[in-house]
């Protein structure tokens, strides 16, 4: 046998070897890369969640434990993304630590929960410790979704804060990364102290407290995008003449910041999404027009030029390049959009006549909420998809509903309503369901949801 005659056989042998090697490489699945497959057709399904009562580990922690579970339950119920399992179906044995959890009792009928929040609370002296877990009870092999230990002062306020944080954590996990709004604040105007002052409260109406004490009139609060300041319309006493000006309150120092004063009436401030500019209405040149100034009030520039009054500007929070505002240049107050520099003014078409005011952009910049008084009725809230101009009516036959403001999750709205006879602050899901009254004392109006 000569090497020449071996050649083809060798080649065949090598090819065979190589193909075997290749097949081996392909056959061994690369376990390093995980993947999953999912999809969507119609609608979004909500998971069912149960919240067990927190176990009280010491004699005086019973109120802390029940308050914590109650607040978490409320937060989850109002999140709009889950179904809360009815409490009357809960098993009698409430787990306080993961070892005591009976998965089957919670995941089977009648509770039929997919997730369970549980934990325990201990109060020692003036400090409290809360251990809380959120478990996937349908997946007993890897159930832990959230586990947290909270440590702080044993006060009701602190317990509420912990509960809100825990609920936010759960909501963020279940909604795929959209932060919850349980820790956010709502600024509003209340006249319960005798003068209209700026107040703030938790998003669920708890912890209402007064921010300003100007003893005149304060209106239209607007949180800055970093939630450290509130711009509003104020009436500082300059001699004997009251003139509307823009004021900015700092939530950090609890004081008013210096803001330039201008001639005429200045009102309805709006922050640009980057927080560097404030657009406001001013009649410094006679006709009420929109101006934009730096965040400290300097270098005002005129933006609109029309014969009518232009007011109530709102920046598109997503792009920062588009502004919705109210103008009566065609007779009645109507909604318009324009570029930030005042170009490309477009009227938003509506299928009916009437007053249209209070534009508010959703955080994703795709929806515009506003209040509209149609010739046939009262002021009601509407949401418009700005690309297709499709309309959804959110309120009807329930008093006057005005001044909507979006929560940062884009799932909730806060507004003022007279449906109970007095003007109060209400919040609801952005589809108009589950309205909740947040205030009850005095007259309250003009709410604004903090961006974080």
């Amino acid at each position: 046998m000569t090497p020449k005659r071996l050649g083809p056989w060798r080649a065949v042998a090598i090819l065979g070897l190589l193909s075997t090697l290749g097949a081996l490489q392909w056959a061994a699945p690369a376990a390093a890369q995980d993947w999953f497959r999912t999809g969507t057709g119609l609608g979004v399904s909500k998971p069912t969640v149960a919240v067990a009562d927190l176990a009280s580990r010491s004699g005086d922690s019973a109120t802390t434990a029940s308050l914590f579970s109650e607040v978490v339950r409320n937060d989850l119920d109002f999140s709009g993304i889950i179904t809360l399992a009815s409490k009357s179906f809960y098993p009698t044995q409430m787990p306080s630590v993961p070892g005591e959890l009976n998965y089957k009792a919670w995941s089977d009928a009648p509770v039929s929960a997919q997730f369970l929040a549980f934990g325990n609370a201990t109060v020692t002296g003036t400090t409290e410790e809360i251990q809380a877990w959120f478990y996937d009870v349908k997946n007993s092999s890897a159930p832990a979704v959230v586990g947290r230990v909270y440590h702080g002062d044993a006060t009701e306020e602190q317990t509420r804060r912990f509960a809100h944080q825990f609920a936010d954590e759960i909501i963020a996990r279940l909604s795929g990364g959209v932060p919850g709004v349980a820790s956010t604040q709502i600024a509003f105007v209340s006249g319960r102290s005798g003068n209209k002052e700026i107040w703030a409260m938790d998003y669920d109406g708890a912890n209402q407290h007064k921010l300003t004490s100007l003893h005149s009139i304060a209106l239209t609060p607007r949180w800055s995008p970093d939630a450290t300041r509130i711009a509003f319309t104020c009436y500082p006493t300059a001699g004997s003449i009251l003139s509307a000006q823009i004021c900015v309150y700092s939530d950090v120092t609890s004081r008013l910041l210096n803001w330039a004063h201008y001639r005429g009436t200045n009102s309805s401030p709006a922050w640009s999404p980057d927080g560097t500019k404030i657009m406001f209405m001013s009649s410094m040149f006679g006709n009420p027009e929109l101006f934009v100034a730096e965040a400290d009030g300097t270098r005002p520039r005129r933006v609109t030029h029309s014969t009518g009054a232009d007011t109530s500007a709102a920046y598109n929070p997503k792009t920062g390049q588009q502004v919705a505002f109210v103008s009566d240049r065609d007779g009645l107050p109507q909604l318009y959009t324009m570029d930030v520099d005042g170009g490309d003014v477009t009227k938003i078409p509506l299928p009916d006549m009437g007053y249209v005011i209070d534009p508010a952009w959703s955080p994703n910049g795709q929806l515009l909420a506003f209040s509209w008084r149609r010739p046939s009725g009262n002021y009601d809230l509407y949401v418009m998809d700005i690309a297709s101009h499709a309309l959804v009516e959110l309120t009807r036959d329930a008093g006057r509903n005005e001044r909507p403001s979006w929560a940062p999750d884009g799932r909730h709205l806060v507004f003022e309503s007279t449906r109970t006879g007095t003007r109060q602050i209400w919040s609801m899901l952005a589809d108009g369901t589950s309205p909740r009254e947040l205030t009850a004392q005095g007259q309250n109006e003009s709410p604004n949801w903090s961006p974080k």
Binding site: P29, A31, Q33, D34, W35, T40, L42
Partner: protein
């Protein structure tokens, strides 16, 4: 032996040729190993993942009307046979050589076979003992193959499609973190707006998009795996995925750097 043939013999013994072949083959081997690490193997449908939903059910147990045969289970009699494993034929005993002093029996051509002698039964009197490591017929128990185990996609909604897969194994992200899968599904679904699709479109075939979720929740490598055939649906689908960026960071106890997702969309007005 002539000097020439001696020289040829020496040249034939040199290591140059085999060494060359050895280097070539080794480099090919390593090359194929390196290439295989870059080619991402996406798992296979049968044993890949059970992702796509929290509801994981046995087809046979859950759907009473489906006449799928359950794998036959035969209990092993452990007293009789403790052995496990595969049948391995043992070498047959060699026939013994006849003793050297044996004389051959003379054969008579006309000798008649007695007609009453029957052939011995081979089945009953097989002299070879059964091998020690054989599993008797039907004795091995249920085979360890995932029979009709499947996961219902998209949070258990009936039109969400189903897929086969086994629990555990390499790609078990979907079964370990089904809450995360559901959350991704919910987020992308809620960002898929009907208004972004051309109003004239009433129905579109399924579009499939693939993307990666990085450790911090960021979405990367958004690609259309299967087009719906309609540009506006495809655009809205990609926009729904990109509008969900960033997602929730991957679960803290998950060790991988990224997770690949195959997301399908069925559009119907």
């Amino acid at each position: 032996m002539t000097p020439v043939s001696a020289a040829i013999a020496i040249r034939d013994q040199s290591l140059k040729g085999p060494l060359l072949w050895s280097i070539v083959l080794h480099s090919l081997l390593f090359g194929s190993m390196i290439v295989s690490t870059f080619v991402s193997h996406r798992g296979d449908l049968w044993s890949g993942s059970a992702g796509g939903g929290a509801v994981s059910v046995k087809l046979v147990g859950g759907l009473a009307g489906v006449p799928l045969p359950r794998p036959e289970t035969v209990t092993t009699n452990r007293v009789v046979d403790e052995s496990k494993g595969l049948y391995k034929p043992e070498p047959k005993p060699k026939p013994k050589a006849p003793p050297p002093d044996a004389a051959q029996i003379p054969q008579f051509s006309k000798e008649k076979q007695p007609h009453y002698v029957t052939r011995p039964s081979k089945t009953l009197e097989d002299p070879t003992p059964p091998p020690q490591n054989a599993v008797p017929y039907g004795g091995g128990g249920a085979p360890a193959v995932p029979y009709s185990q499947f996961a219902l996609g998209a949070g258990g909604s009936p039109n969400a499609g189903m897929q086969f897969g086994s629990q555990g194994g390499g790609g078990d992200f979907g079964s370990r973190y089904s809450w995360y899968v559901d959350a991704v599904q919910r987020r992308v679904s809620s960002n898929w707006l009907q208004s972004t699709v051309d109003p004239a479109v009433r129905f579109a075939p399924r579009a499939v998009v693939t993307f990666d979720i990085l450790r911090n929740g960021a979405i990367a490598n958004v690609q259309i795996l299967q087009t719906s055939g309609n540009v506006s649906v495809d655009t809205s689908v990609v926009r729904a995925v990109q509008g969900s960026n960033p997602l929730q960071p991957l679960p803290g106890d998950y060790s991988g750097n990224k997770v690949s997702v195959e997301f399908w969309f069925d559009f119907q007005r």
